[in-house]
């Protein structure tokens, strides 16, 4: 009988000693974490896409709580819905933001930009870009090796084997900007989704002179400036032989699309039957075009 009691006693005493040690250690190394972080992390999408610029959703939640408001921070993947939820938790008003989508600004399909050489090296755009111009000879165009598609965490990008160009699935794209960062040539841009998802953009990044650009691709922007002259709103700037349409100014009249001699300007999601709406005359308060450098990758809002 005494054996049993001594065993109980010994175990109880050691248990009490360890409990005390653990208590003091826990006090000494206590980490105080705001429970709000967990709540914010809960409402974030949890894809860890890195579109916000942080290491992942948890890091973003920490940044939100640390800052206490949403100024300068936004979750492109979650969009307005998540912003509203986070704002409710933080007790601030969410920033109103136009929904955006990734746009591939290259029209160098296999037919337009025929391959002059054959590349069988590492299937990685960043590597091919460091070696040479690419199969078509255009040093600005899409290499078609799919770094953007691999970077996409939402399965919204794929390289079309027929054209050799990436295709954006607009229903899946959350405009996180991962593809924009992955493209070594800055071809992909985040643009406002636009009214009824309609967009007009220059599908080319070639800054060479017209003749040189045409040599490598039949659908290249040759920098002729016709579109800029046609645009009634001054939304188009031509710099370094390359036109750029500012999506904040563009009113989707599509006059430039008709004017472009190479078909470098693309209009997407318009109804097939073209009923040209009467273009409203430029009003006095129409914003003046800002000089937008064509090389600018508009990753921000």
């Amino acid at each position: 009988m005494t054996e049993i009691w001594s065993a109980v006693l010994v175990l109880s005493i050691t248990g009490a000693i360890f409990a005390m040690v653990l208590y003091f250690v826990a006090q000494k190394f206590k980490v105080v974490e705001d429970p709000l972080i967990d709540e914010v992390a809960e409402v974030l999408p949890g894809a860890n896409c890195g579109g916000c610029g942080k290491a992942g959703c948890r890091a973003m939640a920490e940044a939100f709580v640390k800052q206490g408001n949403m100024d300068g921070l936004s979750c492109p993947a979650g969009g307005a819905e998540v912003a509203k939820k986070v704002a409710a938790l933080l007790g601030c008003t969410p920033e109103e933001k136009e929904p955006q989508v990734a746009v591939v600004r290259c029209n160098g399909t296999c037919a337009n930009a025929t391959a002059k050489t054959h590349y069988d090296g590492l299937q990685d755009c960043a590597f091919a870009n460091s070696l040479y111009t690419g199969e078509s000879g255009c040093a600005f165009g899409c290499l078609g090796l799919g770094n953007c598609a691999r970077a996409c965490q939402f399965d919204a990008l794929s390289v079309d084997p027929e054209t050799g160009l990436p295709v954006v699935d607009e229903s899946k794209c959350v405009a996180c900007g991962a593809c924009v960062k992955a493209c070594p040539r800055g071809i992909i841009e985040l643009r406002n989704k636009g009214m009824k998802d309609r967009r007009v953009f220059v599908a080319c990044r070639n800054k060479e002179k017209g003749g040189d650009a045409r040599k490598s691709c039949s659908a290249a922007c040759i920098g002729c400036g016709k579109c800029a002259k046609t645009c009634p709103f001054g939304a188009i700037t031509v710099e370094n032989n390359l036109a750029y349409i500012d999506f904040n100014i563009c009113k989707l009249c599509r006059k430039c699309v008709a004017e472009c001699p190479t078909g470098a300007i693309h209009a997407v999601n318009f109804p097939p039957k073209v009923e040209r709406p009467a273009a409203p005359a430029p009003t006095a308060e129409a914003p003046k075009p800002e000089a937008v450098p064509a090389s600018n990758n508009q990753t921000q809002a």
Binding site: G121, L122, D124, F127, Y132, G137
Partner: protein, 443 residues
Amino acid sequence: MKTFAMGGVHPEENKISTAAVIEEFPLPKTAVILMNQHLGAPATPCVAKGDKVKVGQLIGKAEAFMCANVHSPFSGTVAKVETCKDAFGLTKPAIYITVEGDEWEESIDRTPDIKRECSLEPKEIVDKLKEMGVVGLGGATFPTHIKYSIAPDKKAEYLIINAVECEPYLTSDHRVMMEHAEEICIGVSILRKALGVPNAYIGIENNKPEPIAVMKAMAAKFEGIIVEPLKVKYPQGAEKQLINAITGRRVPSGKLPIDVGCVVSNVGTAYAVYEAIQKNKPLIENILTVTGKKLQAQHNYHVRFGTTYNDIIAHAMGTLPETTGKVISGGPMMGKAVSNLDGPTTKGASSVLVIDESEATRATESNCIRCGKCMNACPMGLEPYLFSSLVKNRRIEEAGAHNILDCIECGCCFFSCPANKPLLDEIRLGKNLYRGILMAKKK
């Protein structure tokens, strides 16, 4: 017989143009002279459209530290100063020259007499090399005057002349040793004087018995020049491997040859040094091997920079053989495929290789089986298979911690891989990305 300690492979030698005597390449009608033909910043053009230039006239001035002067290899009129597409289609600043006649600068000694005496002081030699735009002709085109300006806290003990020519196919060094042995030895003596070292070692692989004999006979007439035959193994011509083979020393990671007291120059550079110092001739031409298994005739040419690859092909073979898969500038192991044949040759060009389709295509890649052949082959003691997966998953900093920047890009790993994995491509990409990270950190 000496060779380097670690790794290495034995590619098929294919030196089929060893017997072709160096020929003068005819002048083209127009030429494009790139402003960055060397490692570092491009030179600044100092002529304008419409200017008349002579052969050897300065047309691009070195303004940055890491830069070399560019001289006109042709006489004629400057057609335009603009950009051009180089052999890889990339846009570079260049000077276009319409070639008219062949009028040389008066200061250049064009007589065939060999000038043996050099009375210049070491400092004057380096300054003259800078003026003459001499760069290393082994492939990396490192400005020679920078290499021979030794920092005061460093001391050179060995001058090593690289005549290994371990790349398959290439024979320009072989030919220049056969035909210009005395000039090379004078050039080596000048470099020895510039460094102030007692001995210069000329490393030659023993698959070149004729040049070894010729150079040995010639070196005996000079003081302090030792010809060192080496056991054949690729990449013996790589700077660090050659130092290891000849001196037994190892260049530590991230250090330069001068840190172990060595300076290495190519044998072609030694010849260019002779011409620059003794004959006042700037670096305007190089010896190019034009070779390929399917070609009727093999050639070694004296080609002036700015001649386009198309000009060379048209003169050497008319048109490319129908089954040509690739045209490579440089050796088959380390050279680059030329994607734009309208592009001009540069100071670094050493050959035009016409590779047949059957040899040009890569075999299908399969999975790594961890056999370790790449590690055994790597002459730098690196782990290529590891870099491959780290780079693929973009874990670049880890690759950096495993010394990815030590890779000399010799291609032994890719050559030995039974799974045909593009190991070198991945490592090159990793190096580029890691350099980017380091640059960003510096800022």
